[in-house]
Symmetry: C2
Subunit: 594 residues, 2 copies
């Protein structure tokens, strides 16, 4: 191997080094030949520097350099000199100097890469993923991975300083009752049995609290085998946290300080505290979403009372059926063309809207197809409730509470973007609290846990177990940032009698409960402390901090939306001998959705 | 939930708190009733403190406390008071004070635990693993997990300070050519195809170097599906490191400083540097092992030249067949009984010895069955070579180089322990270097890679590829501590022509090479920097730092030697619907080795 090992990083050279002889190792970013003098931009992790080969001082090196092409790996030695004023490159941190090369070794040649190694390239992502090792050379990818590494360190430093112990929990674990999305791993030693990859360390972190660790954390890999949306990965990373002997307020406060520290040290911004806390009910009511983007207003207004008696049949009937009518005032959109408004209707339909009623405020009066069905007083009340002004567009959704929220919540986001109401530079956090503990599953005809069966109900709601379980609010919370859920958790049930009420509400018999959660329930019998925790979506946080819109940009070797690794071509076939040793056989059925 | 949340940790209270009213949360360690006054040792993560319930000042709390049993979770409030001189407990950090309780809430009751929550319990490990959440409450387990967490932080801090970037590599990856020990994961989206869990991030960390990251690390979970020995786990943790543009010496120096820092901050000892470096050949030659315990001497000596002509037939014939005869001087064991010496023979047989010849030095002369086959001069030379003195026992092994090393190497360890030559308080590090690049596989009738096919040969040995590949030494190194391998790695091949020679030596056709390592070889075409790395066995390091002898003691939720989790009872059966979705079927064959 070469004796010319780097003494300096390319990107850190400056006037301060003028006169020094330096050895650099790096990649050829570009080369130009100006009248026999060769100029090469040499790149390493730290950045670029211009190196010069001139027959006058470079000797043989000049001839060798002439063979170098993009992405060749070079080892060079030479003298740092100041550039003459007219050749200074103000766009380059090292632009005031260059290195006059006297020795050169080509450490390795390179084939011509399939795309340029520079920021902002516009090429098919699948090509970037196939050649990820080249994609990672691009400065923006290096910056992202460096920031991701830094973010992990900030989490760890803060949690360490606050008495949290990092504990690794198993990856080879047991399939959970909700195992539908588990990745399974056949066992060689136990034919016919399987491990499951964890969807989260939930059970183990609660056991650690039973084990008296009091404060646990782990930056944990989790797995979910499901049809992937653009923003999902089969394996993802969460910052997993559990604590004992804290109230919800104490925990959220501790976590706010963590988030503030994270954004201070990675995004260089100061997040004001305390974070806004908004109840699930209000989030749905005002924004039609449990992860509202609070960087702008455009709140939804319930107008059911006003329109109930109106001549608009669909409004009246929806309300009669226990539904609701809500409206959104798209400020200043009254001037939109009929086509533009119809497009909103098409958009709304995607979220289940059967129609999208609208009224514009033009020339001092409300106009639109449905206006004639209202009387003067109703129109006045609508104006008032929706704070309608000249030029506004009022959009109405009438349906079940859920559909109305989806329709108007998404319209709100669309219009907010369209009207440029969103300050992209802002990080707007909020805790969404008081989630419902249970939701009624129409298919299974029973209540199911919104979070999981160990979520603690609010003390004051426990009595609803006997009367109206749907009313019970949970001690559960999500951390929301700019319309994304970036964290979520809950306080856990730690009292046996409450746990039994919960299982009863879920329709589990004691036997079922035991079968599903036996060892955990047994553990709870041996002196369980009050405990609760949270998990942050690490990939998504990095995505938002770096201003990316795609989780794959934050992961060194991500998988595609079809859960394949284009670089290693995983998953792949294996030979029968392997399967035989695992006591399984492939049983592929007629074409499966691929 | 209680309003009595801890204001202090039990174990940290001292005279400084006398007079303060404190709220404590913790577990009942033990309780005694002295004439109606209740004394409870309350335990939390920080330690124990004595709390007192006296009808005089405890009111109702006294009655409630009377119901508390071991491992009940209590919330108590009371006043810290100084103990009278005669009741001070010098064995307890908080022994100078106690807390007079005025309020008590039983947060949770507890069943009587199956074993005592204290150090040094002597019970069946399987019971501890089934109730791991109780086992973890024991102070020694808490200390071990805290130290493990601390060790991880020291690694990260050092690597971060030295410009290493933490990168997470995939867990769902592709089965490797040596896939025999891969855990496989069937893919739902791609019927009939499988992911594999990584045995190490080897390929990805090399790709990160191709990607220009220059310095990478990860505390990585790795997986190996094999018959487990006592000191193996199906999932284990390694500190995985890779660097570019460094020489082997630069890398080892950087790693020595890391190890020194680790032991300074976790074991509170100062490891002298530079670490001893011993060649593989010397390690085998002197200690019969490539991971020698250097805390004591007892070196092996080759006596082939001396005994070749002796009348001992087996010696002569072994040497004639290209084998060797080596001896070990068990200082002072000449006094051992015939029975004790015969036991050594039985022990030696376990390692392949067909017999164990021996000579004692008694009453000024060498004695034993084989002495008569030597002439005076040979006996003199033996005395000299083996530095034999009155009372010594000389043990001989004659066989192939490998068997001799195994036999005498293990005898050396056994006798070293027996004679108490090992200073258990010492941490004796060494780098074993110059491993052979290839070894000849008699079954496959070809050379196989000792480390892996990307290990870089020593420059000066490359020419042996054409003449005697077995002679080639690798730029590979192991870090050895007290007879354990705690780390290992190598510089990697980065030049195409060398890689081709390597594959040729392994008997791969270009097609085979491509099939096995295609995408990696392609990556190497695009400008690969010189790179190399190392991986530390994190579980084993923690084991040695904490003076444990069993890896399971260092892992929160370990698996047994039969790869089961006694707590969650993993692996387990899954329902057919799950398997169907994964397009696999169970094919259990007649009883498999379990």
């Amino acid at each position: 191997m070469t004796q010319m090992l780097k003494t300096h990083d390319c990107g850190t050279l400056s006037k301060a080094n003028v006169g020094e002889t330096v050895t650099l190792n790096g990649w050829v970013q570009r080369r130009r030949d100006l009248g026999g003098v060769l100029f090469i931009d040499l790149r390493d992790r730290s950045g670029l520097v211009q190196i010069v080969f001139n027959p006058e001082f470079s000797g043989d090196a000049h001839g060798i350099a002439d063979r170098a092409r993009n992405e060749y790996v070079l080892a060079v030695r030479g003298k740092v000199v100041e550039r003459d004023a007219e050749t200074v490159n103000a766009n380059l941190p090292t632009g005031e100097i260059e290195v006059q090369i006297t020795e050169l070794e080509i450490m390795n040649p390179a084939k011509n890469p399939p795309f340029f190694i520079e920021d902002g390239i516009d090429i098919d992502e699948s090509l970037r993923l196939k050649y990820r090792y080249l994609d990672l050379r691009r400065p923006e990818m290096q910056r992202t991975l460096q920031l991701r590494s830094k973010a992990a360190k900030v989490f760890r430093d803060y949690l360490d300083e606050n008495g949290f112990i990092e504990v690794e929990t198993p990856i080879l674990t047991k399939s959970t009752p909700e195992g539908a999305r588990d990745y399974l791993v056949p066992s060689r030693v136990h034919p016919g049995e399987f491990f499951a990859l964890p969807q989260s360390p939930q059970i183990f972190k609660q056991l650690l609290m039973v084990g008296g660790l009091e404060r646990y954390y782990q930056i944990a890999r989790c797995f979910r085998d499901e049809d992937l949306r653009a923003d999902r990965q089969p394996e993802f990373t969460q910052v997993d946290i559990e604590t004992s002997f804290l109230s919800q307020d104490q925990l959220l406060d501790l976590m706010e300080k963590l988030v503030v520290r994270l954004f201070r040290e990675t995004a260089n911004t100061e997040i004001p505290t305390p974070f806004q806390r908004i109840s699930y009910a209000d989030a749905i009511g005002k924004y039609g979403s449990d992860k509202p983007d609070l960087r702008f207003g455009l709140e939804l207004k319930d107008v059911s009372d006003i329109v109930a008696q109106s001549g608009v049949q669909v409004f009246a009937s929806v309300i009669a059926k226990g539904g609701q009518v809500k409206a959104l005032n798209a400020k200043g959109c009254g001037v939109w063309s009929r086509k533009e408004i119809d497009d909103l209707g098409v958009f709304a339909a995607r979220y289940g809207a059967k129609g999208l009623a609208w009224i514009t405020y033009k020339d001092g009066e409300l106009k639109g197809p449905i206006v004639k069905f209202f009387n003067e007083q109703e129109l006045e009340l609508l104006k008032e409730r929706l704070e309608a002004e000249e030029g506004d567009l009022l959009l109405f959704s009438a349906d079940t509470k859920k559909v109305v929220a989806d329709v108007l919540g998404n319209l709100r986001l669309k219009i907010g973007k369209q009207l440029g109401l969103i300050d992209e530079s802002q990080f707007k956090f909020a805790w969404v609290v008081d989630f419902p503990l249970l939701s009624y599953d129409e298919d299974e005809k029973r209540y199911v846990a919104e979070h999981h069966p160990f979520t603690r109900p609010k003390e004051e709601d426990v009595h609803f177990f006997d009367t109206d379980p749907g009313q019970i609010r949970a001690q559960a919370y999500d951390l929301v940032l700019n319309g994304y859920e970036v964290g979520g958790g809950s306080m856990r049930i730690y009292k046996r009698e409450v746990q039994e009420k919960m299982f009863a509400a879920l329709g589990f018999s004691p036997e079922e409960a035991n079968e599903k959660f036996g060892f955990l329930l047994e553990a709870f019998e041996y002196g369980t402390p009050p405990h609760g925790g949270i998990a942050f979506g690490f990939d998504r946080l990095v995505m938002l901090i770096t201003g990316r819109t795609n989780l794959r940009e934050t992961i060194a070797f991500p998988k595609t939306a079809s859960a394949t690794d284009l670089l290693t071509d995983a998953p792949g076939t294996v030979d029968d001998k392997q399967l035989e040793q695992l006591s399984i056989r492939i049983a592929v059925k007629p074409p499966v959705t691929k």
